[in-house]
């Protein structure tokens, strides 16, 4: 089992991630300290959550380019609500954020499902529309730190068992995905729909509805991240997370989620996001020039795609299960 893991795509990515961390460590000693790595994880939490949502969408042979706009809009709405009604409990704001995100995801999903518009076209459209709505609701003005309540800003930073709540949220989402994707019928359906839509229909799977579910889940997570992002950085404005949609896709691609659909793992997406996170967050600290940052992340994407073009190895956890049974 250990040997087959060593041959898997995830193991290679893990190796690359460790090599990258050691590289930074060599330039900037102390980087590989557990406490610092925990900070890197925390910095990457939002990217991880979004990449997991995007993973579902890509598994079904779709793509969602509107996630960052969705995040920015929900973030703005929660910030404005908080500024207008500081007494509103954070739980209510969280519920609003998730609900708004779900609605935006559902809108994407419905257009793809019912009107049969290609997902890239739909979400390129809603990418602009959702951003436009931010401008409409905010009139282009910012919500600044001093307008936000202390409770609003405190949640993601609050420490619990040695880690910030933000990290814990990411951990819970990862665990939920690990179980949901691998061990539920819906999780299997994502793979089936992306792997062979024609055969999925004959198996009794509703292809449109499955894609819709993927968009809805990704949207809901983007909504959640909207609150997390804005409260963490304590500022909301129209261009929050501008261009971040491409980072999300890049994390998935580096993580081995096949753009052709039907292939990829939760672990891969998490590692892909971490890899990108280290490049984006740690290399600047280590004094590595922006040019090299871009070169490394660009090279990582191309290597990952070239790697995915090869045959995926069979999944190792299952070998284990078979050996046991």
């Amino acid at each position: 089992m250990i040997i087959s893991f060593l041959k898997s795509r995830e193991a290679i990515l893990l190796g690359a991630l460790i090599a990258l961390i050691l590289l930074v460590e060599s330039r900037f000693s102390g980087f590989a300290m557990p406490r610092n790595l925990a900070a890197v994880f925390n910095d990457t939490s939002i990217l991880i959550i979004l990449a997991l949502g995007q993973t579902l969408v890509i598994l079904t042979r779709c793509i969602d380019l509107s996630l960052a706009s969705n995040l920015a809009l929900t973030g703005m709405v929660t910030a404005m609500l908080n500024a207008a009604m500081p007494g509103l409990p954070i739980v209510a704001l969280l519920a609003v954020a998730v609900a708004l995100g779900l609605i935006m995801g559902a809108f994407n999903g419905l257009l793809v499902w019912k009107l049969n518009i290609p997902p890239i076209v739909v979400t390129l459209g809603t990418l602009t529309i959702y951003r436009g709505i931010i401008f409409l609701v905010s009139g282009g003005s910012w919500v600044n730190s001093h307008e936000m309540s202390a409770a609003y800003k405190a949640l993601p930073r609050a420490q619990m068992l040695g880690l910030p709540v933000l990290s814990w949220i990411a951990i819970v989402v990862i665990a939920g995905f690990a179980i949901g994707v691998n061990r539920t019928a819906l999780g299997r359906a994502f793979y089936a729909v992306g792997g062979n839509p024609g055969a999925a229909v004959y198996t009794g799977i509703d292809v449109g509805r499955t894609r819709f579910s993927a968009f809805v889940i990704a949207g809901g997570l983007a909504g959640l991240c909207g609150y997390l992002w804005v409260s963490r950085y304590a500022v909301a404005y129209t261009d929050v997370a501008g261009g971040f949609e491409l980072d999300i896709v890049a994390a998935c691609v580096i993580g081995g989620i096949s753009i052709a659909g039907g292939s990829g793992t939760v672990l891969g997406a998490v590692l892909g996001a971490l890899f990108l996170g280290v490049i984006k967050n740690a290399l600047p600290v280590a004094g590595i020039s922006p040019f090299w940052q871009m070169a490394i992340s660009g090279a990582a994407i191309i290597i990952a795609v070239a790697f995915n073009a090869r045959k995926p190895p069979s999944r190792i956890i299952l070998k284990h299960a078979e050996a046991r049974s």
Binding site: N182, T184, Y191, G195, T203, G262, S314, L318, K319, E322
Partner: protein, 511 residues
């Protein structure tokens, strides 16, 4: 045509070809020679390595060891165009064509005729395509998008594509599996013509009547090794089967005793605007009901509408006396009616998924506990059904895409049997399956019928129809021509009625 007194020089010779995939040795040190003007039949069980050899001959795979000798010159076939240049063309088992391109474009993709300035010469391309299609006896408009064609016509396009390049070696990997009897006859005529032109033909098939009809030579593969080769005139069918499976085998159908019980499924006046009309029939418990007809007679279309893939314009179906309203395949599966489609590529297996996940996909509720899938139960279920169907795979978590064509088909059948349906509709169930496994499929079918499963079997293979069915419905051009009990039915009756010769065929014999 062939002169056995002189020893002709082979056009193509393979020496010691070996090919290993991760975990499988698909070919080990096989030899093969192909002679001008002769058909060499390549036979072997599912997974014996036949298609792998084809892929090596066409430059898709590279051998790990061994020599490919074309006209006495050792050659490497680095890619598909190198194979074309060496004069080798092939009709592949899994046809790779493009749904959104026209028939003519599919035929000429990659080697289209060019006119002035190197631009595509569309008019000539269409003209040439029409010519080639006519040569193989296919009445297909070259301008149609491929999407609009049925599976048999698509296969004819693949054949036309293979013949559109100038070649001396023509490889055919189960070319008749998707064709009807009439089209198969056309193909035989075509093969005769190719032989007369001096082409060397490698012909892969699981059907022995074909092999004896058209081949001069044979080569037998077993588990990736060449076990025998020789002249067809020196062997009998039984000897060939024995060489192929490594033991004596009688290809007889299972004996079935049970008499069908009460009526389970009633179909009344099923009609569709373009595909079929006035379809009525009953299916009884434990019965195997055969549907015979030429490809395109509307059999698959009826079954797809019973399964909820398409909608009939009117008509009614009842299950155990209760009117059914099936709008999607999920509805049908919930009612216990399942359909094993004919096109395993598009409609059958999810090739990137492991075998066991393919098998359990429609049965996940049974392998789950409180909504969570139990992997061990999945393996048990998948193992049970794939073993019964004689699946050859190295492990159940191998991806289906790495299996041989026949073994992929077995995975699809296992998937549907594993749902424990009340009614199973099998569309060409043993297409592409070797003799030994065919018997396994037939035995399992008979056993399940004896346990009360109702089976509708759409088949274009007359021996299978006659050997397995309790009752046979013959269809032609979207209508039921007649219904017969098995006893007293002959191949001649089936062929005549399906083709519509003579007015007497219109009469219904007592069902």
């Amino acid at each position: 045509m062939t002169d056995n007194n002189t020893t002709p020089q082979p056009v193509l010779r393979l020496n010691g070809i070996t090919k290993t995939f991760p975990g499988v040795r698909a070919l080990s040190e096989v030899d093969l020679a192909l002679y001008p003007g002769e058909v060499t039949a390549l036979i072997g069980e599912n997974g014996a390595g036949k298609s792998t050899l084809v892929k090596i001959l066409t430059g898709i795979h590279q051998p790990d060891a061994g020599q490919i000798i074309v006209d006495e010159t050792p050659t490497t076939l680095a890619d598909a165009s190198a194979a074309t240049r060496a004069g080798i063309t092939a009709i592949h088992q899994e046809t790779v064509l493009f749904d959104d391109l026209s028939v003519a474009e599919n035929i000429y993709l990659g080697h289209a005729p060019r006119g002035r300035f190197g631009l595509l010469d569309w008019a000539r391309m269409e003209e040439d395509a029409r010519e080639i299609l006519k040569r193989i006896g296919a009445a297909i408009n070259p301008r149609l998008p491929l999407r609009d064609l049925g599976i048999a016509s698509k296969h004819l396009v693949a054949i036309a594509r293979a013949l559109s390049v100038q070649a001396r070696v023509v490889v055919m990997d189960e070319p008749t599996a998707a064709l009807s009897q009439a089209e198969i006859e056309e193909l035989y005529t075509l093969i005769d013509r190719l032989k007369a032109e001096g082409k060397a033909i490698l012909f892969i098939s699981h059907k022995f009547d074909e092999v004896f009809r058209i081949a001069e030579r044979y080569t037998v593969f077993r588990d990736g090794q060449m076990v025998d080769a020789g002249m067809i005139s020196d062997v009998t069918e039984d000897q060939l089967v024995e060489k192929m499976v490594g033991r004596a085998m009688s290809a007889i159908f299972p004996v079935r005793h049970a008499t069908p019980g009460e009526t389970v499924l009633e179909v009344r006046d099923y009609s569709h605007p373009t595909e079929f009309a006035d379809i009525s029939f009953d299916l009884r418990r434990g019965e195997i009901l055969g549907f015979y007809g030429l490809v395109g007679a509307g059999r698959s279309e009826i079954m797809q509408s019973l399964f909820g893939v398409t909608k009939p314009s009117h008509g009614e179906a009842r299950l155990n006396g209760r009117a059914l309203s099936i709008r999607t395949p999920a509805d049908a599966i919930a009612e216990g009616i399942v359909y094993v489609p004919e096109d395993r590529g598009k409609q059958g297996a999810i090739t990137a998924m492991p075998i066991f996940q393919n098998v359990t996909l429609p049965s996940l509720s049974r392998t789950s506990n409180k909504g969570f899938i139990r992997m061990a139960q999945e393996f048990d279920l998948a193992r049970h059904y794939t073993e019964r169907l004689d699946l050859r795979a190295s492990a159940l978590d191998q991806t289906v895409g790495n299996l041989s064509g026949g073994n992929q088909q077995k995975v699809v059948i296992a998937k549907w049997l594993a749902t424990r349906p009340e009614v199973i509709i099998l569309d060409e169930p043993t297409k592409g399956i070797d003799v030994g496994s065919k018997a396994a499929v037939h035995d399992f079918m008979a056993e399940l019928a004896a346990e009360g499963l109702c089976v509708i079997m759409v088949s274009s293979e007359i021996p299978e129809i006659l050997g397995m069915s309790d009752r046979v419905i013959v269809m032609r051009e979207g209508r039921i021509v007649s219904q017969h009990p098995r006893d007293g039915l002959s191949p001649e009756i089936l062929v005549r009625e399906a083709a519509g010769y003579g007015a007497t065929a219109q009469k219904e014999s007592a069902a």
